[in-house]
């Protein structure tokens, strides 16, 4: 029986744990790391900044052809006829498809497709397609889709969702409470706006096997989906994603356009490329659903939160999946919600970095502030009083100090400075199922391989660090191959599962390879392999000390090749049930123009066992930046007459730029989490959850009036101030 020490300085606890024979011993709070936890630049950093790194976007062949679809300008229509003959007659047009009779349910839906020798011919060909539409009424907002007589978007009613439970209990608690606060909050639709748009390059070989370079968060889902679309056996399909330019939850498989691309490649026997243009990317490649949240919260005078009830409406376009994480985080006597999911004539929502959370937390944390003001209490104190999480409880004072928290706003003249905060929760989303191959060559080379992708979060480097740490060699000895489905299975990168799930498996693969190496070496140099160790590139505990490279040269075989999997590495006690985080904001608001300038954000985030300090901080920075952009700028604007998007570009769809950046202070909380032998936690999504809530609270603090709608644009600030 051995002890496992979990937690963080100031809050540690011991758990009994016995490591099974065939499992790498878990890391805990007492582990002395030599590679882990330090700031390491990404392995591919130089390739990326010099342009050597090849994204799917960059894959070219001499005989490459290009595909693209003609998209409906109407959100609701019936295609009466499509005349594609002029396009087909254009020299260089190689393949086409016309979706006669199609019912269009959102603007941007593909109506016809062309593949051609060049992008210029393609563009001309698309302009020659003649489509006759019967335009039908559309409803692109929740209100329009719920109005009496609203057009039905799909079969079945527009309004779906689950009925709420426990309202009676919340109502009863409200009755007993000293104060009740009611308000309505709203959030907008945000599009993923991946830097690299969706799509792929498909190439068939003479033997009928298919290679697909896809910009995807799941090479393996894409493989199955493309195989089905192309009617090829999955084992004859290889998906490659060496590098990708962002997905944020919108790239989990093969889409309509990928299918068109592979069919064009098959029909023409030419490699074919289809990566969406920016307009299509906004219209049809995913978005974060909007929300209307009617909240009723209550509390007692002593600052005890009592009841919370939320009724919400939102739209994921023609899809489902609108909903909010609200109420949550804090301890209420009774809490619940009823969430309606409303279909509209708009592009389908998709998972978006912490689905449901940022929008829910914006409203929740606004309500907590409103309750605090109604009670005359410091909003931070109210949170601390009602927060039971062991990690978040330790984070609040850290953030408070870093931002210089003030109960009263500052500023004289037109510009007022306010402070706000918000919290987050997330799951420790470690999922079994990954496998990792580790190969140690006689030449001293070390390779870790997994078939999943690096979403851009730094997975490649993470694997190298974990492998080097467990093997006991310097990081520079280790190579990683990612993104080839010919390698062992890896999960889709969603739910922030990647790092926590793959970490113990990398560790396991490295440990197995190390044991095998030491057994070989023990025979050569003498010693008990069980007592021998590899540390900092040296083999210790044998009859004589040799280096790792010397040890490899002594191997009686060409290489050691083992595969670690997820069996047994997940049965480790865990420190806390949820991933915790808090953020604080300081903003300056020009009360004459309504302009909000975020001055500083402090992000304090539970990172579990930190693998790479640099990529941990960059996830936190990215989370704040995307959250700030959501709070102040981003907004999909649809014309309510036709349902087309008016700002489907990167000029009018406003994303925060360099000059909009505040000072961002990242304070990673290293917590020996356990849960797996590696103790690594989810980070990518929780890091963006509280930002909008913290900024909104700071704005309201500054101007002493509440803005309950995102994005917080100057007009809304002026309206809240009564100046419009």
């Amino acid at each position: 029986m051995s002890d496992l020490k979990l937690g963080f300085p100031g809050n540690e606890k011991n758990e009994n744990f016995e490591t099974p024979d065939n499992v790498a011993p878990p890391w805990d709070a007492t582990t002395k790391f030599s590679v882990m936890g330090k700031p390491h630049p990404r392995l591919e950093a130089e390739d990326k900044v010099t342009g050597r790194a090849k994204y799917s976007y960059d894959i070219r062949f001499p005989d490459l052809i290009y595909a693209k679809m003609l998209r409906s300008p109407h959100a609701s229509a019936r295609v009466k006829s499509i005349d594609i003959s002029k396009a087909k007659a254009l020299p260089g047009v190689l393949y086409s498809e016309a979706r006669q009779g199609l019912t269009v349910r959102y603007a941007g839906q593909g109506v016809a497709g062309i593949a051609a020798e060049t992008e210029e011919i393609l563009d001309d060909a698309l302009a020659l397609i003649e489509v006759e539409y019967e335009v039908l009424p559309c409803a692109v907002t929740v209100e329009d889709a719920m109005a009496p007589g609203a057009p039905q978007v799909l079969n079945g009613p527009n309004v779906g969702g689950r009925p709420g439970r426990g309202k009676e209990r919340v109502d009863a608690v409200h009755k007993d409470a000293d104060i009740v606060v009611e308000a309505e909050y709203r959030t907008q639709v945000q599009t993923h706006s991946c830097f690299e748009t969706h799509g792929c390059v498909c190439k068939f070989d003479d033997d009928g096997s298919l290679t697909v370079w896809a910009s995807t968060q799941s090479t393996f889902f894409t493989k199955t989906a493309i195989a089905r679309a192309a009617r090829v056996r999955p084992e004859n399909v290889t998906v490659i994603t060496e590098h990708m330019g962002g997905g944020f939850g919108s790239k989990f498989g093969a889409d309509d356009w990928d299918r068109f691309c592979v069919l064009a490649a098959r029909a023409t026997k030419r490699p074919c490329r289809y990566l969406l243009d920016r307009r299509a990317e906004h219209l049809i490649a995913g978005n974060r659903p909007d929300s209307i949240q009617k909240c009723r919260f209550s509390a007692n005078k002593n600052g005890t939160l009592m009841g919370a009830w939320v009724e919400s409406w939102g739209t994921a376009g023609v899809g489902r999946g609108a909903g909010v994480q609200n109420p949550t985080i804090y301890r209420f006597r009774a809490a619940g919600s009823e969430q309606k999911d409303v279909r509209t004539h708009a592009g389908r929502g998709r998972a978006f970095r912490a689905p449901r959370h940022p929008q829910g937390v914006f409203a929740l944390e606004g309500m907590i502030d409103e309750v605090a003001f109604a009670l005359g209490m410091d909003p931070l104190a109210l949170r601390q009083k009602n927060d039971a999480h062991p990690v978040r409880s330790a984070q609040w004072p850290v953030g408070q100090k870093a931002i210089g928290w003030r109960k009263t706003p500052r500023g004289n003249g037109a510009v007022k400075i306010g402070y706000g905060c918000a919290g987050s929760r997330w799951g420790h989303n470690a999922r079994p199922g990954d496998a990792v191959r580790c190969r140690i060559g006689k030449d001293g080379s070390v390779l870790f391989a997994n078939g999943s992708q690096d979403l851009g979060t730094g997975t490649r480097t993470l694997i190298a660090i974990l492998g080097a740490e467990e093997l006991g060699v310097p990081l520079s000895f280790v190579d990683v191959r990612l993104g080839h489905t010919t390698d062992p299975y890896g999960h889709a990168s969603g739910g922030s599962v990647t790092a926590p799930s793959i970490a113990p498996v990398v560790k396991q693969a490295a440990w197995l390879a190390k044991r095998e190496l030491l057994e070989h070496i023990a025979k050569k140099i003498g010693g008990d392999p069980k007592k021998m160790e590899l540390t900092d590139g040296d083999v210790l505990g044998g009859k004589k000390k040799i280096t790792f490279k010397q040890a490899c040269a002594l191997l009686p075989v060409d290489s050691i090749d083992v595969t670690g999997d997820s069996r047994n590495v997940f049965r480790v006690p865990r420190f806390s049930r949820e991933v915790a985080g808090v953020q604080f904001a300081r903003v300056a608001v020009d009360t004459e123009t309504g302009l909000v300038k975020v001055q500083k954000i402090v992000s304090v985030q539970d990172c579990g066992q930190i693998v790479n300090e640099l990529t941990v901080r960059s996830q936190m920075l990215g989370g704040v930046i995307q959250g700030l952009s959501y709070a102040l700028f981003e907004n999909r604007l649809l014309d309510r007459n036709t349902g087309d998007m008016v700002n489907a570009d990167l000029l009018n769809y406003k994303i925060a730029g360099a000059r909009d950046m505040p000072e961002i202070e990242t304070i990673p909380f290293n917590v020996a989490q356990g849960g797996t032998t590696a103790g690594v936690s989810s980070l990518g999504e929780p890091a963006t959850v509280p930002t909008a809530g913290a900024i909104a609270n700071a704005v309201s603090h500054a101007i002493d009036a509440r803005v309950r709608s995102l994005p917080i644009t100057p007009d809304k600030v002026l309206a809240a101030l009564g100046a419009l």
């Binding site: 210029e120 036709t642 008016v646």
Partner: protein, 323 residues
């Protein structure tokens, strides 16, 4: 984009001569606006004549060649001293990358950012359609005009135009049928159905240069703008203002509003509220109110009026402090 023939002109007058012999041609400065319009097939010319190769004569103080880039203009010390409004307008426009290629002529002749104009899925009377997609209750028009014209609610996008008008610059145009010089304020006209261009330039007529006078009015000028986002954004409202104060009284004033109407708008009522008066808090407030007294904002853009008034006050307060 549709295929076109591409020519490079040696000078602006040579380009004007070349354009005269073509039926469906456009001139190209830096191409930062034109390229987007071509890609979206809003414009489908058969010929494009580039002015980028045009040689600029030796620099003369106060003379701005049309092919000068915004970055060069922003770095011009004479302009900075004698027409601060123009300096700031050039310096604040767009992004460093765009300022490095965008030309002064192109900036003055750029198209509106109206997203209905730029998306051929929508009806636009400027493009010749019977209706204007922006002018309905259910349209998205938060950045559109607050002084709309009956036919068009587009907002004029140029930073430079209000500034050049405020300092009473002169625009020199070339055309094979005869050159002309006009006050920058007279360069623009009200919108009309089927006319994509906002200027009064005849087909093939080009701006060759702009002259900025060395005047007390131009020296006491300023430009302020408001945009939602610091990086990469157009202004939602801009104000260029200039005053000539003598003996404690304003004897001449120009106040020009940008991004609030289909063309840059001289706020003549505001100017008149100042002339003959000292420049003080009371007259400034009066002028600001007068500037927007006739505004008719759409349902989404009332905020532009509130902010516009503030900008007029800030601009004039800045001029008060200036020597």
């Amino acid at each position: 984009m549709k295929n076109f023939a591409y020519y490079t002109a040696e000078s602006v007058p040579a380009a004007a001569r070349a354009l005269a012999g073509m039926k469906n041609a456009v001139a190209k400065g830096g191409g930062t606006d034109l390229l987007a319009l071509l890609k979206d097939r809003v414009l489908e010319p058969d010929e494009v004549v580039s002015l980028k190769g045009a040689k600029i004569d030796a620099k003369v103080a106060g003379v701005i060649a049309a092919t000068t880039t915004l970055a060069e203009l922003a770095a011009d010390p004479w302009i900075k001293k004698h027409a601060p409004a123009v300096h700031v307008a050039a310096d604040e426009a767009a992004t460093p990358q765009i300022r490095n290629v965008a030309t002064v002529g192109g900036n003055l002749c750029q198209s509106t950012r109206c997203w209905y104009y730029r998306n051929k899925n929508f009806a636009c009377s400027k493009r010749g359609d019977d209706a204007c997609a922006a002018l309905t209750a259910r349209s998205q028009h938060r950045y559109h005009a607050v002084f709309p014209h009956v036919a068009c609610a587009s907002a004029h996008a140029s930073n430079l135009a209000p500034a050049l008008i405020a300092v009473a610059a002169t625009v020199h145009c070339v055309h094979p049928d005869g050159d002309r010089a006009l006050d920058a304020g007279l360069l623009y006209q009200d919108p009309a159905k089927g006319r994509v261009q906002d200027t009064i330039l005849r087909p093939g007529e080009l701006i060759e240069r702009i002259t900025v006078p060395d005047s007390p009015l131009a020296r006491r000028s300023t430009y302020v703008e408001f945009r939602e986002r610091e990086s990469f954004d157009f202004s939602a409202v801009s104000v260029a203002a200039a005053v000539h104060i003598d003996g404690g009284k304003v004897i001449d004033a120009r106040i020009v509003l940008g991004a609030v109407a289909p063309k840059p708008l001289r706020a003549t009522a505001a100017e008149q509220a100042l002339v003959g008066q000292p420049l003080n808090a009371a007259t400034i407030e009066k002028a600001a109110a007068a500037a927007f007294a006739d505004a008719r904002p759409l349902s989404d853009n009332k905020y532009k009026v509130v902010i516009g008034r503030r900008l007029v006050m800030r601009a004039l307060a800045g001029l008060k402090e200036m020597r």
